[in-house]
Amino acid sequence: MSAIIQTSDLRFSYPAAEGVTPVVLDGVSLSIEEGSFVAVLGHNGCGKSTLAKHMNAILLPSGGTVYVDGIDTADDSRLLDIRRAVGMVFQNPDNQIVANVVEEDVAFAPENLGVPPAEIRQRVDDALKAVNMYDHREHAPHLLSGGQKQRVAIAGVIAMRPRCIVLDEPTAMLDPIGRKDVLRTIKELNRTRGVTVVLITHHMDEAAQADRLIVMAKGRVVADGAPKAVFSRVEELRKVGLTVPQTTQLLWELRQAGYDVPLDALSDEECAQALYSLLMKNPPVTA
C-alpha cells in the first residue's frame, strides 16, 4: 500500500506576540496509507486539529515536511492539486455551507475546478446519493438538522472526487442521531469507495471504529496502532488526560482486582463475552 499523506518530523508553532512561541506540533512523523480509516484522538489543545490543517495545506509546517499524494504541501504552485486530493470537513456544519440550496452547495467545488456542467450534475447527484441526502437536494440548508447539514458538507467534499477526506471533529456539535448518521456515512465511503478517511475526534466510541488509532498529546504522537491495542494501554492514556471506553475501563478495573480478563474487548458484544467467560470460570456456588 502507498501512503497518501506522509509527514516527517512535522513541527509547527503559531507566531506569538510575547516572545513565547507555543509549540503546537512537536515532531510528528506519520504515514497514512491509502484506503485506510484512521482516527486521531486527543483532548483539546493536543495539536490534533493543527495536524489536520497541515494535511491539505491550510497551514504550512514551521519545520519538517508534509507530502500529500507525493506533493510537498509547501509547493505553492500545486495547491489546487493538493486540495483536490484531500478534502476537509470541519466541526461547524453551518460555517462550511456556501449556497442556499443543497445541490448548489455540493456543486461548489466542481464549479471551482472548472468541471463541465453536465459532469457537475452527475457528480452532485452521485455525491448526494453517497451521503443519503439526494431527496433533500432542493432544500435550503438552514432548514436541515445538524447531522443532515454535516452530510451535505461531506457531499460537497466528495463531489471533488478526493482520494482522502480529513474530518475535524465532524460530530462535536451533533446529537446522537446525527452522530450515528455521519459516522455511518464516513464508514461507508471508506468501505465502498475506498476513500481514505482521517477522523479527528475526542469521542472514544468513534475512535474505536477505525482501523487505526493515533493518540496525540502535547503535539506528539503518544500511541499508534489498532484501537484494541491502543485502548488496552489504560494507564498511559490516563496519564495524558484521556479516558477509555467504559467497557475497557470495567475490564481494566477487574484486572486490577486480580481477575484474568482480556483488555481488548471493545464492543458491547466482546465485553459481554469476556465477562461471561469470567463468570463461567468462577461459577457461583449454589447453596
Partner: protein
Amino acid sequence: MQPIIETKQLTHTYSAGTPFEHTALDSVDFCAYPGEYLGIIGHTGSGKSTLIQHLNALLRPTSGTVLFQDTDIWSDPKITKRTRFQVGLVFQYPEYQLFEETVYKDISFGPKNMGLDDKEIDRRVRSAAYFVGLRDDHLEKSPFELSGGQKRRVAIAGVIAMEPKVLILDEPTAGLDPEGVESILGNIREYHQAHNATVILVSHSMEEVARSVDRLVAVNDGKIPFQGPPREVFRHGDELEQMGLGVPQLTRVFHRLRAMGVDIDPSVYTLDQAKAAILEKLGKGAV
C-alpha cells in the same frame, strides 16, 4: 414534598395559524423538587428546549400553566421578571453570548439587572467565579482572550451569579473533551450541594446524565414518556433506543449478559455499579 417548579398541562404551538404550525409540547405535566438534581433527556426537536424555556418565562405557554413556588409565573409582570432571576438558564454554547470588556463585568451583568448593590454584586461575581474554577487574575481579562472551555465557565458563572434557586443547563458539556466534561460537571455538582439548589441538566449523553442525577425525565415528541430514577428509566432500553437516545454502554453490556443467561441485574449504568455487580457474583463464586 411541594415541587419548586411545576408545569400543568403545558402546551406550546409554534407559528400557530400558519402552514408551519408545530406543536412542540403537548399537555406536559412536569415538576422539579427543591434541592433535586434532575436530568432531562431527549433528542433534538423532542421539545426539551421548548420545555426549559417555559420554566424561566422566556416562552409563554399556548395553554396550561407554569408554577414557581405555587405561583403562576405569568400572573403578574413583576413575578414574570422575578422568575427569570430565580430560575437561571444556561443555554447551549453559552460562550457565544459573552459581550463585556472584562470577565468580571460579564459575570456581573445578571446581578446588575437584578438591581443589587455594588458590594453584593462583587460578592456574587467572586463566588460564582470560584464555583466554576476561574482565578482572580482571569476576572480582569477580556473574555475573548480565554480558551473555549474557560469562556464557557465565564458564561455559566454569569448565570450562577444570580444565585438562582433552580439552575437549568442545556448541554453544558457539548463539544468539550473528557477532561473539560468532568470539570464542568464537578462545578455544577458543587453548586448544587453548596446552595442546595435544584439543578436541571439537559443532555443527550446518557452516560453523563446517568451518573449525576437523582431522577430522569425523558422527553419525546412533546410528551414525557418516562420519568423516574435512572435505573428505572434505563429499563426501557429499547424504547429509548427508538427515540434516538440509547442507554449507557455498560447497561447495554449487562443486558447482553442477561440475555446470555447470567442472572445479573441489568439496570446498572455506572462503572462502579457494574464493577460491584460483577465482583459480587465472583465473590459468591469464591465462597
